[in-house]
Symmetry: C2
Subunit: 717 residues, 2 copies
């Protein structure tokens, strides 16, 4: 791989080098007026100032749906999102007699709209206030753990105050790595209903085979409707509830897109690492990704080998195996992409330019020192990174061990006032923790769990002495033989495999808990001090990084300003806007992927077997060729998906894609394989987002699985 990045000479470099920042950016709405000139030059026809407040129209039409995005498309609460985002709702309403996954669903009228699973949530952002001063008020002069605690306490207080208003869910987010803090306030709608879903073979055409693939041919959309109580306030499902009137809704465009068209997108991207340091980029490429992939591949091997021997166990671990495979695929893709884009060089050159510039600024010694300290702290993180990676996987990759560690930790936290408890272990979290304990029975097998722990702890045993933790060595021994014997003893003498016993321990008082002689619980108790100590160290480090990183971010922003540019914060599940254009992808030498697919591709891919088993009504409609007003004037056929260079990441699923007039032209649902590394670096040569074409959705609702009342409500002919 070195070859690839080193040997591309200037003479053969792409027309569009990786350092060009065109169309990159997940902008906070409040930043849009600042970059209004670029936005208008890119083709936006509206006034960027109108986009500045995400709690006001039109952006207030964009809502959070689960961990993803959706948008209101009527003033009676209709929400458009992805089929895969609403999949739980479809699944919840399906059974052997009425398989909505397989057949899709068209609610004939409002009475036919089906309630979502009770834990399904839709969140409308109603407040987004900068609270930096409040959050940092008590941090002055503090460092490390104290700094962390001051931020944590202030944040928890702000959230608790905010959530006093009924129906609200609040959270504290930090922007630019601690430079700024915002309090996000969201109206939580709990009665959401299924209105329209295409069959699986349309909504998820191509499934895993086509996942991350362009060209794509998926009708990945679903229509929901939000309801509120008769008083207009959020309420659980009740027959007498009425449709919610959203603060805004989007208009469907009358025309479709073509290559080169301006498009923009608003949504809730989850997490990116674009402003990490060059050293962190190098660490990700040289150590974290390859090491993680190697460890996860070993765990995959363990589950596969165990499944060969025991079919019942293979079923219990199917989801864990699938998740490992997904992670391996994604991390491998990220590694490949970062190498392909030569991300470290690009990042290092930019960082050097920023620091060079800073050195020439007056009175910048303090900032320079902070940046240097942050760099030292980051470098020091390497000392125990192998251990932290392996021990960090013990919980997530086990079932009973995780349960024991959680019960013991909860015991520690319950002794504190609720506000001082660890995030995730507060009273508001206990219901979720209990439900996790219940799910274990369907996912646990003692032989498999021991094998997985053995794989991780063998690796741990081979680490240099400096990385060893006395408590772990005591519990699991220092040799493979000791480990094997320890695990056998622990799992032979635990009753936690029994659900009732787990829940009993979960609910038990400290006194009852401490009197238990359960071997696994005892082991977890012995490990607890080490875990708390490691947690302490992590928080102290995080506190210092929150304190120190803003110096670099500020320098970066000031430097960019001298270049006439602006800096967007890394993604953190808050509403962001991205703009760009409908763009082909030059995937490799002499291979170009066009930016629009059509129903021709559905027929080409169709084998009649899942995942390429388009339903007969769709095939018949394609065969008939009655595409009416939805036909693409360029290809003369029916468009299905399109590709843009919009800046997206996980969480952007279901984001509305808008044209230059702010009208709805599509629905974001995936990105391409080459763009997996975009969480670290936006490479304009490869970063693409994949959208369902609004024309395809309208055609399906008009001609294939008709829902005329819905089209009427959407305000389209």
């Amino acid at each position: 791989m070195r070859l690839k990045t080193l040997l591309i000479p200037a003479a053969v470099a792409m027309a569009c080098p990786a350092t060009v920042l065109a169309d990159e950016g997940m902008w906070m709405p409040s930043q849009l007026p600042t970059i209004g000139k670029q936005l208008r030059e890119a083709g936006y026809l509206g006034d960027p100032a109108d986009l500045a407040d995400l709690t006001k129209p039109p952006l207030s039409a964009v809502v959070k749906v689960g961990g993803a995005t959706g948008a209101f498309v009527s003033n009676e609460g209709l929400v458009l999102t992805n089929h895969h985002v609403a999949f739980g709702v479809i699944q919840y309403n399906s059974n052997a007699q009425r398989d909505l996954i397989e057949n899709g669903y068209v609610a004939a009228d409002r009475t036919q709209e089906l309630p979502a699973n009770p834990d399904f949530r839709l969140r409308v952002t109603t407040g987004f206030d900068k609270v930096t001063d409040q959050v940092l008020a008590d941090t002055h002069g503090k460092t490390g753990r104290a700094f962390y605690d001051a931020v944590d306490a202030a944040g928890k207080q702000l959230v608790a105050d905010c959530e006093r208003e009924p129906g609200m869910r609040c959270s504290l987010v930090n922007m630019f790595y601690g430079s700024d803090y915002y309090l996000v306030k969201q109206l939580e709608l709990r009665d959401v209903r299924l209105v329209y879903a295409p069959p699986r073979a349309i909504g998820n055409y191509g499934d895993e085979v086509d996942n991350f693939v362009w060209p794509r041919h998926s009708g990945d959309f679903t229509v929901l409707r939000a309801y509120v109580g008769p008083d207009g306030k959020p309420a659980a499902y009740a027959k007498e509830n009425k449709p919610y009137t959203p603060p805004a809704h989007l208009q469907v465009a009358s025309e479709g897109v073509k290559q080169g068209d301006f498009v923009m997108l608003a949504g809730y991207p989850g997490v990116t690492y674009r402003h990490r340091t060059a050293a962190e980029f190098a660490d990700q490429i040289e150590w974290r990704l390859p090491t993680t992939v190697a460890v996860l591949k070993q765990l995959q091997g363990v589950i596969e080998a165990g499944g060969e021997r025991d079919h019942a166990a293979s079923i219990r671990y199917a989801a864990q195996l699938q998740s490992l495979k997904n992670s391996i695929k994604r991390f491998s893709g990220e590694l490949e992409g970062l190498q392909r884009s030569d991300a470290v060089t690009t990042r290092r050159e930019d960082e050097t330019a920023v620091l060079d510039w800073l050195r020439h600024q007056p009175d910048s010694q303090h900032e320079q020192a902070a940046i240097e300290q942050a760099a030292l702290l980051i470098a020091a993180g390497k000392d125990a990174r192998d251990r932290d990676l392996l021990l960090g996987l013990l919980g997530p990759q086990s079932q009973l061990m995780r349960a024991a560690l959680m019960i013991e930790r909860l015991d520690v936290e319950r002794a504190k006032p609720d506000a001082a408890r660890e995030t995730g272990y507060q009273q508001r979290d206990e219901e979720l923790l209990a439900s996790q304990l219940r799910q274990i029975s369907r996912r646990y097998d003692p032989t498999m769990e021991k094998a997985l722990l053995t794989a991780l702890l063998h690796r741990y045993q081979q680490l240099p002495a400096a990385q060893h933790v006395p408590e772990f060595d005591e519990v699991f021994g220092r040799t493979p033989a000791a480990l094997s014997s320890a695990l056998d003893s622990i799992y032979a003498a635990t009753r936690m495999g029994d659900e009732a016993e787990r829940l009993r321990l979960f609910k038990a008082s400290q006194e009852v808990l401490r009197s238990s002689d359960d071997a696994l619980l005892l082991a977890a108790r012995k490990l607890q001090p080490a875990l708390l100590r490691m947690d302490e160290q992590r928080k102290a480090r995080e506190g210092d990084l929150l304190r120190l990183r803003p110096s670099y971010m500020k320098a970066l922003m000031a430097y960019r300003q001298t270049q006439g540019g602006a800096v967007y914060p890394d993604a953190n599940s808050t509403l962001r806007v991205s703009y760009g254009k409908v763009t082909p992808l030059i995937a490799r030498d002499a291979v170009t992927y066009g930016p629009l697919t059509s129903v021709v591709g559905i027929v080409e891919k169709n084998t009649g077997k899942p995942p390429f088993d388009a339903p007969q009504p769709l095939l018949a409609a394609i065969h008939k060729g009655d595409f009416g007003r939805y036909i693409d004037p360029v290809s003369k056929t029916m468009p299905v998906n399109f590709l843009s260079n919009l800046d997206t990441t996980g969480g952007n699923s279901g984001s509305p894609v808008l044209n230059a007039r702010g009208e709805l032209v599509g629905l974001n649902f995936d990105s391409n394989w080459e763009a997996v590394s975009a969480s670290w670096m936006y490479d304009p040569r490869y970063k693409r987002a994949i959208h369902v074409d609004m024309r395809y959705m309208r055609w399906l609702m008009d001609k294939v699985y008709p829902a005329p009342q819905l089209l009427k409500e959407l305000g389209v002919p």
Copy 2:
């Protein structure tokens, strides 16, 4: 697959339907003046009349190299052909000390040019005469076997007369399925030398992984030189030989190609089936290809299973296994392509149009009757096709059995006058037959041979009684148990595994041979009458088809003429010219392959391991970016390969690709996977040919592995 072909509605059909005949055609040079208007309209700037005689310049520069093509590129006998065509020459000159395969070769001067393997031949066509009247002179009133024999005898006589001239190799070819016959006369050059070859990792970059693949990045070329004796006549290698002065040589173009440019190609395509009947198309798709693939896959399984048990045997059968895999891949691709193009429908519609037209022509009853008879004869071929396929594979898929059958057949043929002997069993063929007998020892294992024969004969035993042959049933029994016992007895009691014994039997008189009690020889002798009988039937059928098929071909040609078109004959290893343009490939919905690749792709594909292990000097030269005059003005980098819609098939390897002025711009070396079915049907959507760009060859000879004297001889700066 039905779905794919049935459901593409008119509204989504490609811009370029399969029935359009644009750029299709492997034209006989004599036809070019006839289609001169189209040729000029396509962009050819020369006079089509100048291309009419393949024995005169410029086409006399195009020569046959082994089973493929090459071209003279200097007046001192330099020949440009593919690396894979000249591979035997490179291999012959390689050894552990001097590995020319790995390192390539640049002859510093003429004294360094290395002699080819003694059986390597280069053929210059010096005569191409229509001899239809002579060949058919004795056929009048005859049918079946008699018709066949009359043609066969006349042809053998013409060839024998022609070959009386020293240094000449002659052959009879038939055009338009017996409508016309030509006597081809070729000067056979026997002293050919290696002048320039790139390393394997350039000449065969991508190897099997990239075989049939576009985009491609291979420098698949080699330069040879033809020598003659001091008297100017063909001679075996001798130090005092001198370079041959060819009748013509091609000029290298000063500029390269770009998308849309006119290109043409001349070469020796092997065999096509474009003018077979619709019924034969259907048979190929519905029976022959799937059945053959199933049988060959079973044989592949036999060899793989045998190789698992016995490593030594797996080595002996590696080549046979490779060949089976290639055939399976090719046949599967052919099937896929014919289905994708819906070849039967296209062919049937055209055939119906021709026959409809014929019915309306006066005095066409005789032609119509002949066409009907041919159709009946073709349909009758289905009666024993399963048997013929299986028994036809007994020889080619065995070693010792093939040897025994050949020796017995030779015994039959030797009793006849040489001119009356079966083709392939004449005196001129005996040297080749003996060398085949010698090679058996390296490719034979008794257990494996028995297993292969068992697979074929099991299938034969399951055929309906009507397809059974008494002699085969007698020798091999009618049940699997009898077969097993028969094969065990035969192979336990044969001495033919010994090379000396095989050669003794090969040379033995009839008397000696008949007295042999070798079990395998005895079995072959028992089968012989059946094989001769089946041969008789085949020849009788072929005789009638040669007699009857011309009626359809004549109708087709007359019909095309009414449409302003012309008909080219199916390929038969004679010189043909094809013209078209540099063309991208729309492989599927939203996927376009550009028509030129560049060195960027070499770096992208390079893994450092075979087959993607570009040599350091190449990588360094790419890195340096010194592409000089060879740079592509569009991509601003170094072109490597290009794609055209030229009509090619096996045998066209090494064909020179010329521009509108008839100058050399590239070298044909492969076609794309989607075009495997082109031997039956040219589908303009998918048929592409892959060429090495002349600029890449020149750059390699100029900057990477320099050979300035060669560039000088080629007449380029």
